[in-house]
């Protein structure tokens, strides 16, 4: 009898704890989703194009979206620029990082440790420090302003070998006996890399492609510097940000919101589909780093 009562109170306690947990989780979800709901609502606001106190639009309509696709603004150009940049960057960056990671994971050569240490030290310098020089270098070869797109691709891609850590962490977990077996079978190192290792790297490959594809969509600093006010050379981040300058924000804030929605949707869909790989990459990267 007493034991039964005890278990009763236990299960009761459990229900209470679970209920509280659900309430907290519900609250968390609301907090994390709400800003995006506001963003979406604001993008349909045609009553007031500036920053407002109310999140419910005073008048609804698609005008903000229509504006983006009209010839009054360069949004489509920015979007196209960013897409091209992201496409090139995700391919080249993935290749570069794999080359670096595979080398450092599988080969033991004299300069290996020094190379890793140098890259570690270089990584401690703030990235923008190089911005001024890179801008001048790009300017010399004529890849700034209107031609910022190839310039930006070059900047994003050139040093990407330094971001090899996550992939190397993954490669380190693949047993070396695989390589040795293939070596015994008469494969050379290049064949091992292409035919044995790469196929095993699908999760981390997808992670790398995904993150390097998403990077250019959010980069503001370099895009802003390299395009230097040229509408034709901006990416979405620099372009949309220009709508939030004190002079423009009153008339363009809702346009910014609509643009944000348009930018977010494809990236989000891609992300939610590949979520599994992203999670694997993030957790692996943090532990093995």
């Amino acid at each position: 009898m007493a034991a039964e009562k005890h278990s009763m109170s236990m299960s009761k306690k459990k229900t209470i704890v679970n209920t509280i947990s659900y309430i907290v989780l519900g609250l968390i979800s609301v907090i994390w989703i709400l800003p995006f709901v506001f963003l979406l609502l604001k993008s349909f606001d045609i009553g007031n194009t500036g920053v407002t106190k109310n999140f419910i639009p005073s008048a609804w309509g698609f005008d903000n979206y229509a504006y983006l696709f009209s010839s009054d603004c360069n949004f489509l150009q920015w979007y196209f620029n960013t897409f091209i940049i992201a496409l090139f960057v995700c391919v080249i960056q993935t290749v570069m990082q794999f080359m670096m990671a595979y080398t450092l994971s599988r080969f033991r050569f004299k300069l290996r440790k020094p190379l890793m240490n140098i890259m570690l030290v270089l990584g401690m310098f703030p990235g923008f420090l190089t911005m001024i020089v890179l801008y001048q270098i790009l300017k010399t070869i004529g890849l700034t302003g209107d031609n910022a797109v190839p310039g930006l691709i070059l900047v994003y891609v050139a040093s990407s070998g330094m971001g090899y850590y996550v992939i190397k962490g993954f490669l380190d977990t693949l047993p070396k006996s695989l390589d040795e077996a293939a070596l015994v079978d008469g494969a050379n190192r290049m064949q091992i890399f292409v035919k044995v290792i790469i196929p095993l790297c699908k999760p981390i490959l997808i992670y790398t492609v995904l993150t390097s594809f998403m990077g250019p969509w959010g980069d503001f600093v370099f895009a802003y510097t390299v395009s230097l006010g040229s509408q034709a050379g901006m990416n979405v981040a620099a372009g949309l940000n220009s709508w939030l300058s004190p002079a423009n924000i009153g008339s363009h804030f809702t346009h910014f919101c609509a643009g944000g929605v348009i930018v977010a949707i494809p990236v989000m869909i891609l992300f939610l589909f590949l979520q599994k790989y992203y999670v694997e990459g993030v957790t692996g990267g943090a532990v093995k780093g």
Partner: protein, 501 residues
């Protein structure tokens, strides 16, 4: 104090144990310095003997070498070609030709002016057009590039000598030298790493090492708005810019040193709070989602991941405007609740802005941490909790004795990188506040929420004060490097690369 045995140690109470560890920590410090000193000494010694041996070997090789080797000291690759390794030889020779052409036609004139960074000022010509003189920027940039080239040449030259030596020895021993075909084959097999590394390291060299080198040098010049090429020259000023860091009073009002100190302090405070609020709240959320009996785990996780998927500049800029005064959504809600009485100027007051930034950063960072932590939580052996349950441990005890130590052990290095990452968290600060509220007492239009990195950016972009931007960049590097070095030696999780393989 004598070394305690395990049994003696276990008898001590908590305070005594802490005291023991505390004293042990400080006692170890002289040892560290001694080790450091020894390391530096051995390094110097090895370096010195290395240099001596290097020249000795060079001399000996020349002295004992045949005429092919001797010619190779001047015409690179000559010996290799003569011994049938024509591919290597031609590459050596080509490099020498390219180097000579580069220096003669382009690099030489910049290199020659590197010591003074240009003498001829730009001037107004007779017909009103500007006649450009020397361009200090180009002199410095291409001068540095030329220096890189020289280092590369010396290294290649040394390789060329080494090849000759090997070639000679092989011929003497009647062994087969590697032919051009062998060389190509090795590049996809034994030396495949050279092929793989060529492109990434070249990229890093030109787009990271060269610019960083350049900017470090800029910190020793007076490159700013009034010394801006091509109109004006800039020149070397020695340590003057670093001297500004220690010059406490300034006749022109806001002093650089005071501003730097305050911003550095805030940067560290920010990094501390940003890292640990995210870490513990992220852990809390992850544990909540992974709790036994909670359903719809995938839904909760997806909701949080959703916010990672949206590019930061959209979410942060929008949230920044939500907190706008007096027109933002948050103030709208506040005034609706309070009947119009309560309005908060989130970005106008230094402390409110700082706290708001940290809170919003929780919103930004927790989903990411949740993912990281979830993966690790799954790896904690479940039987630990089971036995803790049997022993009657409370949830808090389970957390503080099992979960937290395990987490801290595994994520030690991650915490370190996220601390330094937060010190340089440009996006959050720049997009949320732009560094504001800006105050008069700060130098160079800095604001109360500015981090060193955002200050660097605004100094460089708005003020074109490159010399001070470079100084700040170097200081950021020093702070990050020292922190990393110290913390890395303290945290327990030492990672062994080879352990997985």
């Amino acid at each position: 104090m004598a070394q305690l045995t395990d049994l003696e140690y276990l008898k001590l109470n908590k305070a005594q144990r802490f005291g023991l560890k505390f004293t042990a920590f400080f006692k170890a410090i002289p040892g560290w310095f001694k080790n450091l000193g020894i390391k530096i000494w051995t390094f110097m010694k090895n370096f010195f003997w290395g240099v001596v041996n290097f020249f000795k070997n060079l001399g000996l090789t020349f002295w004992h070498g045949d005429w092919k080797t001797k010619v190779s000291y001047f015409v690179m690759g000559f010996g290799s070609v003569m011994r049938g390794q024509w591919l290597r030889g031609i590459l050596f020779f080509l490099f020498e030709v390219v180097f000579i052409l580069y220096m003669a036609l382009f690099g030489g004139k910049f290199l020659g002016q590197l010591y003074i960074l240009g003498q001829n000022e730009s001037s107004m010509g007779d017909d009103g057009t500007i006649v450009y003189g020397d361009n200090s920027f180009n002199i410095l940039l291409y001068g540095v590039l030329s220096l890189f080239f020289i280092v590369a040449l010396i290294y290649t030259w040394y390789l060329n000598i080494k090849q000759n030596k090997i070639g000679e020895d092989y011929v003497k021993a009647k062994k087969q030298l590697a032919t051009a075909k062998d060389d190509v084959k090795a590049l996809v097999d034994k030396d495949f790493y050279k092929t793989l590394l060529a492109l990434p390291t070249l990229g890093i060299l030109i787009f990271t090492v060269l610019p960083i080198f350049f900017m470090i040098l800029v910190a020793f010049t007076n490159y700013d708005k009034s010394h801006f090429p091509p109109q004006n020259l800039f020149g070397w000023v020695g340590y003057d810019n670093f001297g500004l860091l220690f010059q406490w009073s300034n006749s022109e009002g806001a002093s650089f040193s005071m501003t730097f100190g305050q911003i550095l302090l805030w940067t560290l405070v920010w990094a501390f709070f940003a890292t640990f609020t995210n870490y513990f709240l992220g852990m809390l959320v992850a544990m909540l989602i992974n709790k036994k009996g909670i359903k719809l785990k995938k839904l909760w996780r997806t909701v949080l991941v959703f916010s990672i998927a949206i590019p930061q500049f959209i979410s942060i800029l929008f949230v920044s405007n939500m907190f706008q005064y007096p027109d933002g959504i948050i103030n709208g809600i506040l005034s609706a609740i309070s009947g119009g009485k309560l309005l908060i100027d989130f970005w106008g007051n230094a402390w409110i802005a700082r706290i708001t930034v940290i809170i919003i950063n929780v919103w930004i960072g927790v989903p990411y941490l949740m993912l990281v932590v979830t993966g690790i939580l799954m790896n904690i052996p479940a039987d630990l909790y089971e036995s803790a349950n049997i022993d009657g441990a409370s949830p808090w005890q389970q957390y503080s004795k099992i979960t937290l130590p395990y987490m801290l052990f595994i994520t030690g290095p991650y915490l370190l990188t996220s601390f330094t990452g937060n010190m340089n968290n440009f996006n959050v600060i720049y997009l949320l506040t732009g560094g504001g509220p800006k105050v008069q007492e700060y130098y160079g239009n800095a604001g109360k929420t500015d981090l060193l990195i955002t200050w660097l950016f605004s100094l460089a972009v708005n003020d074109t004060n490159y010399k001070l931007a470079a100084v700040i960049g170097i200081m950021v590097f020093i702070v990050v490097a020292v922190l990393s070095l110290v913390i890395y030696n303290i945290i327990p999780s030492t990672r062994n690369e080879e352990e997985f393989q």
